[in-house]
């Protein structure tokens, strides 16, 4: 099933990289550069989600959302440049499903969009297999080949986060949020240390690397046939 996302953003550079990035996620993107154009597209087309900038020429994001909500309940993520509670409340009261404050990370946007898109069809697997790694989610057992791994609760949670999104980059922010319920930036290296510890248990000498660091972005759980990658 193709996922269609509408991006309403007047800043061309932002719009362009969002379209490109989201297309590479396998989603079909549409873009609008003004509020009225965005509203027209949102009302006439069928989208799974809309990314809506607040600061738009003509109709601003709040107004677009207000008018859209009269007839449509397409999920909307607002992008706001102003980190003000006021804006957040206006956005959420107006019917936005989520918001992101600029500057935001692209991975964060993808993560939020995934939550919205997955809503209503929450079917989670009970076991995950990546290469020779087997994770039994209901029994909370992890084995690699025949080796049983002894993980702490947090380590298991960390592995689960990565395993549920195989071959996807998961940001440190997202990891901190899911594993530790820390939904704010910290200037600590907790996630790095936790990954290092998990790696020590997961990847013994001679075993293939499964957790890959994507510098500046996050981590990815993937079995790569090419060991150098």
């Amino acid at each position: 099933m193709t996922v269609k996302v509408l991006i309403v953003e007047d800043e061309r550079k932002t719009s362009s990289y969002l379209c490109r990035g989201l297309s590479e996620q396998g989603w079909v993107t549409y873009s609008a550069n003004t509020g009225s154009e965005g509203l027209y597209q949102a009302q006439t087309g069928v989208f799974d989600a809309i990314v809506l900038d607040v600061m738009l020429p003509g109709l601003d994001g709040f107004e677009v959302l207000r008018q859209l909500r009269r007839t449509h309940n397409t999920p909307v993520i607002m992008l706001t440049a102003r980190d003000q509670v006021d804006d957040r409340l206006r956005g959420l009261r107006g019917g936005a499903d989520d918001y992101l404050v600029k500057p935001f990370s692209f991975l964060e946007l993808v993560a939020r969009l995934e939550i919205i898109l997955r809503r209503g069809r929450a079917q989670s697997p009970t076991e995950i297999r990546i290469g020779d790694l087997h994770i039994d989610l209901s029994g909370r057992r992890v084995t690699r080949r025949r080796r049983r791994l002894t993980l702490t609760a947090k380590e298991f949670a960390l592995l689960e986060v990565l395993a549920r999104r195989p071959s996807q980059i998961v940001s440190k922010t997202a990891i901190a949020e899911i594993v530790w319920d820390i939904n704010f930036e910290t200037n600590t290296n907790v996630v790095e240390v936790a990954i290092r510890r998990l790696r020590a248990k997961l990847e013994l000498v001679g075993e293939d690397k499964l957790i890959h660091t994507v510098r500046g972005m996050g981590y990815m759980l993937e079995h790569r046939s090419d060991p150098d990658a």
């Binding site: 989670s124 899911i178 820390i182 939904n183 930036e185 936790a194």
Partner: protein
């Protein structure tokens, strides 16, 4: 333009109203008294004449005697018509001034004092019956006095009182205005001084010398406000300079690395490395921008969306998160006490992790960090106590300053940009609290207080905001 009320004019008008009221009361009473006196006097005069004439009539037997009496009465009657005698009788021979009597529009009683009017002139009358004596039948004697002089006197008095009152009002009002203006002159002078405030010299203050008590409080308060403004202005410009300085490093790195990368043909891996390095710098910049926004929020005194939480639970969450780092250096952390407070959870959590991070950074490895929660009536405090070397006394008040770094060698280690405790302070301020640091017995205590609000504001965030559980 909006009509602005002048205090001097307002006061002058108030004076005028007060004076007018007082003058009206005094003038009214004075007029009443004078008027009564005049009436009384007129009656006395009339009475004196009446008594004489009545006596002349009483034992008058008529006939020749009546003729004499008439002559006497004629002599007795002033020629200017200010006083007239009327005698009424059944017998026309005994009538006097009958002509006048019939024209007189008398409102007076048959006997005693009364008033009458003729051709617009008002008269005071007195009438009395004089019994029959000898040949003379019973007669009625009426004495009529023209009241024009009294009326004139009354009018004169009224005009006098009115003029005097108006004069008094005018004088009091202008004096009042003048006094008010004089009083306001201090204010004018202050305005003049205030006009020069906030220019180049931020140290300038309003003069406090020779001020009346009513104004000195205000001026002192204003000067105190100016002190605070100057301090925060100073902090702000220092902060701006620091921020610019801090931004310079990542910007230099990015520009340089990108230029180097673009100056030759590079393979994909090299370009990826450059982009990744840039991303790291950009993340640093993003972190700084967000921190600055947070500081700006605290500076603007902007309140957040608070929810009532258990502080121990919040501390537990932060400690759980940091546990792995504590574990790395063999340090343990315990939470003692509990209390409820209204906090913005993300900010509060941020402050807690910063406090724990600070304890970890500056504490002795292998020790025990204590997170002490104390709740009072209107404030709750979280104190992080870590064993470690005492903070030098001259550093103590500065550790919460932005970009303060006691040990320059630790200045940049990638994770912190010197805002850790400054953020704690900002968060405390957003929560109406404060921060405090002190050295204990071989330990360092860093305390953050938050004010406990009376009413919990139930904000929509909590309910409308989608849960962030990604899994």
């Amino acid at each position: 333009m909006k009509h602005q009320r002048s205090m001097s004019t307002h006061l002058a008008v108030m004076f005028a109203i007060v004076t007018a009221t007082a003058s009206a009361a005094v003038g009214g009473l004075l007029y009443l008294k004078e008027s009564t006196g005049l009436s009384h006097h007129a009656r006395e005069v009339l009475e004196a004449r009446f008594v004489i004439v009545e006596r002349l009539i009483r034992f008058n037997e008529g006939g020749q005697e009546w003729v004499y009496f008439r002559q006497k009465l004629a002599e007795f009657t002033p020629t200017d018509g200010s006083l007239r005698f009327i005698i009424e009788s059944e017998d026309p021979r005994f009538r006097v001034n009958e002509h006048f009597s019939t024209r007189l529009n008398s409102k007076g009683p048959q006997i005693g004092f009364g008033a009458a009017e003729l051709d617009g002139t008002r008269f005071l009358t007195k009438a009395s019956r004089v019994a029959k004596y000898g040949d003379r039948p019973e007669v009625r004697l009426i004495i009529v006095a023209d009241q024009t002089p009294q009326e004139r006197a009354r009018r004169f008095i009224a005009a006098g009182i009115l003029a005097l009152s108006l004069f008094t009002i005018a004088v009091v009002t202008s004096l009042g205005w003048w006094i008010a203006r004089r009083g306001m002159r201090t204010v004018d002078r202050l305005s003049e001084h205030a006009r020069h405030l906030g220019g180049d010299d931020l140290a300038r203050r309003l003069p406090t010398g020779e001020l009346p008590i009513e104004l000195s409080g205000l001026v002192l308060a204003l000067n105190a406000a100016l002190d605070r403004l100057q301090k925060s202005h100073q902090q702000l410009s220092d902060f701006n300079a620091d921020v610019a300085h801090e931004l310079r490093t990542p910007l230099t790195n990015m520009i340089g690395e990108t230029e180097v990368a673009l100056s030759r043909r590079r393979n994909e891996q090299d370009l990826c490395d450059t982009l990744q390095s840039n991303l790291e710098e950009l993340e640093r910049l993003r972190g700084m921008v967000n921190d600055m926004l947070l500081m700006a929020r605290a500076d603007a005194g902007e309140a957040g969306s608070f929810t009532r939480v258990s502080l121990a639970a919040e501390c537990r969450r932060a400690v759980d998160f940091m546990e792995i780092l504590f574990d790395e250096v063999g340090t343990t952390a315990v939470i003692r006490g509990d209390g409820k407070a209204d906090v913005e959870r993300a900010l509060f959590g941020r402050a807690l992790t910063n406090l724990l991070d600070n304890a970890l950074r500056h504490g002795e490895p292998g020790g025990q960090v204590v997170v002490q929660i104390d709740a009072e009536d209107d404030a709750a405090a979280v104190t992080v106590i870590n064993p470690g070397p005492a903070i030098p006394l001259d550093h103590l008040p500065k550790i919460f300053d932005r970009f303060f770094c006691g040990d320059p060698a630790r200045a940049s280690n990638g994770h912190s940009h010197g805002l850790g405790l400054a953020i704690v302070a900002a968060v405390a301020r957003i929560h109406g609290g404060d921060v405090h640091a002190e050295n204990g017995d071989g330990v360092v205590k860093v305390k953050m207080t938050v004010r406990i609000r009376e009413q919990v504001q139930e904000r929509v965030d909590a309910s409308v905001f989608p849960p962030h559980a990604l899994s």
